[in-house]
């Protein structure tokens, strides 16, 4: 039972120390998820749909608090009504203790949630707050949640039709620090996707506590018309997880399962997810892509779709810029194929932070070098920015955009705000 329940949620909570009990959130909530007694205002975790309607009207910011929780352990409103202050965030160890090994990669709701979450509100620069929650105006319509806990079908089976290593590392026998390109085919079942969307895979079996594994989310690396054009398939970029965030050895359940799949195997899929990290479709749109490691998946998808359009002769204008970082060239997925793209089609910059004998270089260093090209693009309403990769890169990247704007005498206040408002800056970090 409940094998496919998304078991980890970002629980929306109200900070009772800051809240002034003005009732605005309760009045504005379209689904009646907020209630109160004489003491506190609280959010019903099972009713809240993370629509964020309550966030900006809150005069205090107390509404904007989030806790990673297993769904079954979500704080009940009876608990919340008793609080004088918010409980601390559960530590990684505590979460692991109740069966949560690592949080799933952000889907859009969660990305929006964490982008708006700034618990202390004391950071001078909150990069996440500039991320858009709306897609570009010319984006295609995205289908979401066709399969999942609330859909008629909880999961869909896909067949593995390809599994290849896409990094140089891992080439020698025994070395499994590698990244795989996996192709899944849906046969005759509907699974329409767009570049920038993600899907989730349900690893088979049970975890240490005897519960079903929760689904792990991955960005799609192929364009809308299939990894192979005209086929009902898509690809994923999966890096083996061999250590946790603290460097302790641990084999990631889902990533190792996926990297070890054989052609012909069947996997359970949930999704698709994502309604904002979508590419613009109008012919004059420029795309600036900034990514690290497997964050390249959606960039590959967007680049490939544009490449196919160009090859068909239907699409002429629009620049593509890629800033791509990895530890070394050997660890960079798709390094070879990327080299073969025409220079007048895409402008590529690699940054390697661990090349022996060379200074560390990060994507934001490359961006600053290209400030003269990026500044006019920041101002250009036809240019869209996409950032995907490790959480730690996000602030550096947005700060680099901020500094590039300042150096060019642009007002970051208005540039940053319009990037967000017009769906021109998309952040997906994990």
């Amino acid at each position: 039972m409940g094998t496919n329940e998304l078991q980890v949620i970002q629980q929306h909570l109200i900070d009772p120390e800051i809240c002034i009990r003005c009732n605005t959130c309760e009045a504005i909530c379209p689904v009646g998820a907020i209630t109160h007694d004489a003491r506190n205002y609280v959010v019903k975790a099972d009713v809240c749909n993370l629509c964020m309607a309550c966030i900006s009207p809150c005069p205090t910011g107390s509404i904007d608090n989030w806790r990673t929780m297993p769904k079954v352990r979500a704080y009940a409103i009876e608990d919340q009504l008793q609080w004088d202050e918010l409980p601390a965030e559960l530590s990684a160890e505590q979460l692991a203790g109740i069966g949560v090994n690592d949080a799933p990669a952000a889907d859009d709701d969660r990305a929006a949630a964490s982008a708006l979450a700034d618990p202390a509100g004391q950071q001078a620069f909150n990069s996440a707050s500039f991320g858009a929650s709306l897609p570009p105006w010319s984006a295609a319509h995205a289908y979401t949640n066709l399969y999942g806990p609330k859909a008629a079908e909880k999961t869909i089976n896909a067949k593995v039709v390809g599994n290849v290593r896409v990094t140089e590392v891992g080439a020698t026998a025994g070395a499994d620090y590698d990244t795989h390109h996996i192709v899944l085919d849906f046969g005759t079942m509907p699974f329409p996707v767009l570049e920038g969307q993600s899907i989730a895979i349900v690893p088979p079996g049970l975890d240490a506590t005897g519960r079903a594994h929760y689904p792990r989310q991955y960005s799609i690396a192929s364009p809308r018309n299939g990894e192979r054009p005209g086929y009902n398939n898509l690809s994923l970029t999966i890096k083996r997880v061999l250590e946790d965030h603290h460097g302790n050895p641990v084999r990631g359940v889902a990533s190792n399962y996926l990297c070890d799949l054989q052609i012909g195997d069947t996997v359970q899929v949930v999704g698709p997810f994502g309604t904002s990290f979508l590419m613009p479709n109008h012919p004059r749109s420029n795309i600036v892509m900034i990514c690290t490691g497997t964050g390249s998946a959606p960039m590959r998808a967007m680049t490939e779709w544009r490449r196919r359009l160009r090859a068909s002769g239907k699409f002429e204008g629009g620049k593509l810029l890629l800033f791509f970082g990895a530890r070394t060239q050997e660890e960079l997925p798709y390094f070879g194929p990327l080299q073969n793209l025409p220079k007048d089609f895409i402008d590529i910059h690699f940054a390697f932070s661990r090349t022996p004998g060379k200074p560390k270089r990060y994507v934001q260093d490359l961006m600053r070098e290209r400030a003269a090209d990026l500044a006019p693009l920041l101002e250009d309403a036809n240019t869209y920015f996409y950032v995907c990769g490790l959480k730690s890169m996000e602030e550096g990247v947005v700060l680099a955009l901020h500094d590039i704007a300042k150096t060019a005498s642009l007002q970051w206040d208005s540039v940053g705000a319009s990037l967000k408002r017009e769906g021109r800056l998309h952040l997906e970090t994990y």
Partner: protein, 475 residues
Amino acid sequence: MSSIDYSDKIPNNVNLSEDRTLQRALEQWQPNFLNWWDDMGPEGSTDSDVYLRTAVSVDPQGWAQFGHVKMRDYRWGVFLNPAEQERKIHFGDHKGEAAWQDVPGEYRANLRRIIVTQGDTEPASVEQQRHLGLTAPSMYDLRNLYQINVEEGRHLWAMVYLLHKHFGRDGREEGEALLARRSGQQDNPRILQAFNEQTPDWLAFFMFTYFTDRDGKFQLCALAESSFDPLARTTKFMLTEEAHHMFVGESGISRVISRTCAAMNELKTDDVAKLRAAGVIDLPTLQRYLNFHFSVTIDLFGADESSNAATFYNTGLKGRYEEGKRNDDHLLKGQTYKILQVQNGQLVEREVPMLNALNEVLRDDYIKDSIGGVERWNKVIEKTGIPFRLKTPHKAFHRNIGALSGAKVAPDGRVLSEAEWKANVDQWLPTGADRAFVASLMGRVVEPGKFANWIAPPVMGPNRQPVHFEYIRFN
């Protein structure tokens, strides 16, 4: 002929451009409003670009647009909350009938009176606060003051819209009168007495926004239940803005407390003279300000027994706070409610018909809500380890309306003789010396990120801006 495009200049969701009569009325009224703003709006603010929140629609994205604007150019919008399909009247004699989209003739006078009384408080508070900018404790606070001022202006627009749209010539005349009355003026004062008092300093301003704007919340909540649908929808949207005003009050006092407690711990003293010498506001003075603002504000709810209140309820014009969430018959006939009065030197409760006591019902709801915030202030004190608690005074303390008017009652509820009252009143209400001391602290601090010594900085600014953000560009 005016060629101003009002549907552009006045953001609205009421199809302003399609209603010629209304447009003509507003064309006449708008220049007068701007004249009033120039005369009575915040002093010395004309050239400043202020980082303000402007509502351009009622959905969550549209109602909080931030940017630097001159206040005179603020886009005072007219917004109604989205209509509820086939909304039914849910209390009073008309319960179960369809809500009114226009004013029923027989209730015209009462509705007009309710709207005018509410509308009158909006410009009045702008007038009361117009000098405060000269003594702002920080650029952040000055911006908050200005935000409140423009939103009170917008609330006036909201009420004038109703008057123009639904009350014809009478409405237009009332619209002009709203701009003609002046807070504190002898010959043409504002309607409610609390709105003719001065707001002399920032401590009073914070107390006012905490207590008196909370009265606004309760009045608006009661009107948001109204059977007159346009009034209900207008006041519902006003409530989202009112929340910011209460936030300014609650967080303002909280920051004053936090600064005072920090000084008490630094100096290791609770000696009022030493603390005053250190330039912070001592907690007993805060308590006296609290007593004053609390008691003056609960008077605003009106007489404890009122046949008007019963009429407004029976006829469906004004409900109770959270009427829709209450589980009773929503008619209240035959029910009773306890009100207080002084008898033979003692406070005694007396049962009266609930319908006549609806002002008291709303007052009691308000008191409950106010106490919550005071308890949150106490938590701030508690955290610093200082053994002091702020307390709201007894409901009968320092009252000037209804059965308790003029009764001499201590903050703890003891009934006093005239002599006892006189001997102690200086401990309970701010004295001339208190007000002079607080006034002596009021100096203008407006460099970005700097704060007057008597108040702590906030944790963050509006729209997640940092505290040192340049909220106002003085040109």
